[in-house]
Amino acid sequence: MKSYVLYPGCVMPTEQYAYEMSIREVFPLLDVKLVDQKGFSCCGEPIKSVNQMLSLALSARNISLAEKEGLDIFAPCPMCHLALSESKRILDSDPAMKKKINNFLADEGLTYEGKASIVSILDLLYDIIGIEKIKKLAKKPLNELKVATHYGCHLIRPSEIGRPDDSENPQKMEKILEAIGTKPLDYPEKLDCCGGLLTANLPESALTKTGQKLQKVQEQGFDAFIDTCPWCHRQYDSKQIKAGETVAAKLEVPVLYLTQLLGLSFGISSDKLGLDLNLSPVDKLNLGGK
């Protein structure tokens, strides 16, 4: 059994509880132990527009906290994963910057060393655990659900920083979803952004981006929309009705976290996967939700 420090970030542990619940249920079944650690802060990525140095320092701080455990870090939120990975890349290649940042971290008795790897949800599921293991655990038939994937921009770009899948034609989510008996299909809008980061200053425009993509997904007759990012999920699931209003469409697309669907396939009860927290019409799928 391999262990990782779970870096939860902000959005998942303060409101997107279904992602956290499903992660805590699914990974132990896949022989991955998640270790909780006190003291984490925001990764800094959402406030990069305000002060980039602050983002760098916050990420370095979080990595150094996890390094005390001597374990690698699992960051399920793509935005956190990008922030931590980018910090690591900068600090590992620039000794002067590393010294400077460590000088700040000293106040809290922390040191960034650069020993821990930063692992994303796709690294963990596809490359570390592997499709075979997922296939073996899949027991509940998912009736060849026709699913659309949404990776989230930060999970696949910028590839220069080292992202877990191809920036223009990502397929790892599709392979995982095939392994549990669903039918993922590509669609023209697959790489479109949810607009979530505009929520801070242009919330209406953010919702329009969300609505435009989801409307296309609905028109193409998908049964469900699967994501891995708490920011994107907040847009597509939690705010789906409002997003529909911005494009004058009645949206009824069931939206689930990848880990929720995995959990259902592994036979975990829908309560434990937080399925009643999804605000989109997931009941339509008859997967054992309320």
Partner: protein, 175 residues
């Protein structure tokens, strides 16, 4: 520590402004020359379709040194950081990074920080997270919190004073 320390034009900000200035002139000298205005960035820009952001023009304006004009414009705040421009540029120019530097400069120059950014920053400074834990509502209208759902206590900075000390140093020191 208040948000003013991080964002005002006061004495303590001088070094931060120097750092961003340095970053901008580096982008101007080293990167904008490579741009030959093919506009591939703009053709894929997520903010272009909806909000008329044109990343290739941002690079062109940077090349001409029109930084004040840009930091006074709301346009720089329409970027949704999807990183497509950085990914697709045939010349490895990254308009998204130019936009980050410009937005940082706007803030360090005491321009109004748009929308909710102030609240987000304030929250990070006080509790370490973008927002505090929320009670959420289920599909059938029941209110739930972390412990109702069997989730452990949230991870956040254990000593806020020391955490804030670190952040305040950051805001004034030239990194």
């Amino acid at each position: 520590m208040s948000i003013i320390d991080l964002t005002s034009m006061g004495e303590s900000q001088v070094n931060l402004r120097d750092e961003i200035n340095e970053r901008l002139s580096r982008l101007q000298d080293e990167i904008s020359d490579y741009c030959y205005q093919c506009a591939k960035c703009t053709s894929g820009c997520e903010a272009h379709k909806l909000l008329e952001l044109e990343p290739h023009k941002i690079v062109a304006l940077l090349k001409r040194g029109l930084i004040d004009e840009m930091i006074n414009s709301d346009l720089i705040w329409t970027c949704m950081s999807c990183f497509k421009c950085r990914e697709r540029c045939p010349q490895k120019v990254a308009p998204v990074e130019v936009l980050f530097a410009l937005k940082n400069m706007a803030v360090a120059s005491g321009k109004q920080i748009p929308g909710n950014y102030t609240a987000m920053l304030q929250s990070v400074l006080s509790i370490g997270l973008l927002q505090d834990v929320k009670n959420i509502t289920t599909r059938d209208n029941k209110s739930k919190n972390r412990s109702d759902l069997g989730l452990p206590e949230i991870s956040k900075p254990t000593d806020p004073t020391k955490f804030q000390m670190m952040l305040s140093k950051l805001a004034v020191e030239k990194v």
